[in-house]
């Protein structure tokens, strides 16, 4: 396998007295598709630039394949970066763009031409070699950028939100394509995005960042089903939040008193009675009560229904607290008048110590 692992050891990055990345330890395995996910300004690009060598960390060090990268510039590292705006060279043809890294290494024209044509074929751009990047569509330009980065045979490919400029359809297509290229080449991908859906569909593992701190690192399934902090719980996927205070707790479950009733959920943070806490339950884990009563049941006021296709989003309110339920689109969900009884099982909900949630959704 070509990919190498990347380690950040006690890395800190400061700009003046502003700390963009707080002390971070992170290991990206060789050959995995790793995403760094977080809202705008949280320090994702900063982390990427420290790995690629455009910035030296203020503290700590970066290792690639076990080798200390301190003091090595971007042209001395086994990494290749795909820029947010691609940064293709507009005056060169596509094949010259792809061959530029080889040209910089002093490889003769015939060899680098062959290699460039080969890589352009790999990304599905045969026949476009002589065109200029400006003569291509957005998705095609994307592929040229990928081919150009792969031409230098990097062990680690760094991608800074490369899909953000594309429209939705193309973005979904490119996701699959990137994943396929990663599988074929075995190169370690570190992919930066603020789109949680993108991170979930593509990655093997994800690091979720907020304000310069990595809040959680884990496999995509774990990030989704076992979020460790309120921020991760609300930033990755949708979650209903019910804030309150713990009234009763044991090793496994905690009971929390909210403005809208008392609920039970898993006691993830070993909370004690009196702790201020939040209960999270995914919309697909809650349901309209129909037959057997679940562990938690409560009345809510129906607000509206959003049709998503295969499922519907039912928006309810408990007082001023919004509550969403996903239901499979198997029947018409309308004509609710008056309070509706909703419910969820304690196993499907989690109680965490209060913290900052993602509120720009």
């Amino acid at each position: 396998m070509r990919g190498k692992n990347v380690q950040l050891e006690n890395v800190v990055m400061r700009f003046g007295d502003f700390t963009a990345v707080h002390q971070t330890n992170l290991e990206v395995n060789a050959g995995e598709f790793f995403s760094v996910l977080g809202p705008s300004g949280c320090g994702k690009t900063t982390i990427l630039r420290m790995v690629s060598g455009f910035m030296e960390p203020s503290e700590g060090r970066v290792l690639i394949g076990g080798e200390d990268m301190t003091g090595k510039g971007p042209n001395k590292r086994p990494t290749a970066l795909i820029f947010q705006n691609l940064a293709l060279f507009p005056l060169m043809s596509n094949w010259e763009n792809v061959a530029f890294g080889l040209e910089a290494r002093g490889i003769d024209k015939k060899t680098r031409r062959n290699k460039a044509y080969e890589l352009l074929a790999l990304v599905g751009l045969s026949g476009q070699e002589m065109k200029k990047p400006s003569e291509l569509s957005g998705g095609q330009r994307q592929r040229v950028a990928i081919a150009r980065a792969l031409a230098v045979e990097p062990s680690v490919l760094l991608l800074d939100e490369p899909l953000s400029a594309l429209d939705l359809k193309l973005r979904q297509h490119m996701r699959a394509e990137l994943k396929e290229i990663q599988r074929k080449t075995g190169v370690t991908f570190i992919f930066i995005t603020h789109d949680q859906g993108e991170a979930l569909t593509m990655s093997d593992r994800i690091a979720v960042m907020k304000n310069g701190v990595i809040e959680q690192v884990g496999r995509t399934d774990d990030i989704y089903s076992k979020p460790l902090t309120p921020f991760v719980a609300t930033f990755v996927g949708e979650n209903n939040v019910l804030p309150g205070r713990v009234t009763n707790a044991d090793k496994d479950f905690a009971q929390i008193e909210t403005a809208h009733g008392i609920f039970r959920g898993r006691n993830q943070d070993s909370l004690k009675p009196g702790n201020s806490a939040m209960l999270f339950v995914r919309p697909e884990r809650a349901a309209i009560v129909n037959g057997t009563t679940p562990d938690n049941a409560f009345d809510a006021r129906f607000e509206r229904r959003d049709l998503e296709g295969a499922f519907v989003n039912l928006h309810f309110r408990l007082g001023d607290n919004p509550f969403i339920v996903h239901e499979a689109n198997l029947r018409l969900h309308n004509g609710f008048d008056g309070p509706i009884q909703l419910g969820f099982n304690a196993d499907d909900a989690v109680v965490m110590a209060s913290g900052e949630v993602n509120d720009d959704a």
Binding site: S52, F54, G73, P74, N75, T79, A80, L81, F83, Q84, N85, A87, L88, F89, L91, M92, F100, G101, E103, A104, R105, R148, A149, A151, V152
Partner: protein, 345 residues
Amino acid sequence: MHSLIRSYGKPLTSLFVCLTAFWLLVMIALPQAFMIEHSLWHIDRDDQLGMKIDRAYSEMGLVEYDLKAAKTEKVRAEFQTRIDALKAQIAALEAQETEPPKIYGIHNYTKMSELHFTIFLKSIVFALMVTVLALVVCYPMAFTIAKLATPYKAALMMLGLIIPYAINELLRVYAWLMILDYQGVINSALAWLGLVSFEAKTWVPFLENPGSVFVALIYAYVLFMIFPIYNTVETLDKNQLEAAKDLGASTWKTHMRIVIPHAKPGIAVGCIMTFMLSVGSYSVPQIMTRGKSGDWFSQLIYRQFFESQNWNTGAAYSFSLVIVCLAFILIMMKSFKVGIRDIAK
């Protein structure tokens, strides 16, 4: 035109158009046309003219004397016709003397002496050298200001470049004169170090070397080189520099393949301006050489106009220079593959 009328209305638009036309005609076309016209004729002054007139007069005196001595009517009539013919000849000659005929042709261009032609070529070569030197000096500066310096430092550097331009060009050139003079700043410093001596006149004669003119010309025209280059480099996406570096390119490679191709229009404009200004500069060579080393072509033209009063030759010389500049522009455009549009930008 229609959009102009739409945005400014008819009266204002016609005013704009008239002013533009006036400018084009009076400030650009007319002086050039006048110059070209002058360069294409010369006055054919016959050096023998005075003598010819004198000879005709003395001949007429003789014939008149013969006329008085003549006996027969027939002979008298013969002398009379000769006198009339001579009178007509004298009148024609005198007319030619007071108002010599203009002769059109390329005579003014072809009669350039070998010495003048050498100076002409030398000036072009010198101007080319100044242009290349200015480019070598200005490109790194423009790049540094545009891409490497922090905004604050870039502003300071820009200011440092512009402030000298608030001072009259002549003063700036005189400053260089003082620096490079026999007993100027540099020689004084050398004397202080004991390397030269004023008494023994062993100073370094900087001013007798065309290099001193080069230095002053480059100094006088740096901005015309820096600004166009700065403007184009400025528009280069910084990510492209980083991408090149990330792909393993050396600084040299990045400049050759990314920055210079991008900055080509700016480089072409800078070279054109510097070349035209240096080849046509009169004051800089005049002040810097103080006539101690050979003339530049611009000084020659000045002489034709204001010392020899030979406007026609002067016009032809100037126009030759214009043609050289036009040729230079075309060559730059061809070799840099930039269009007139890129340059206008």
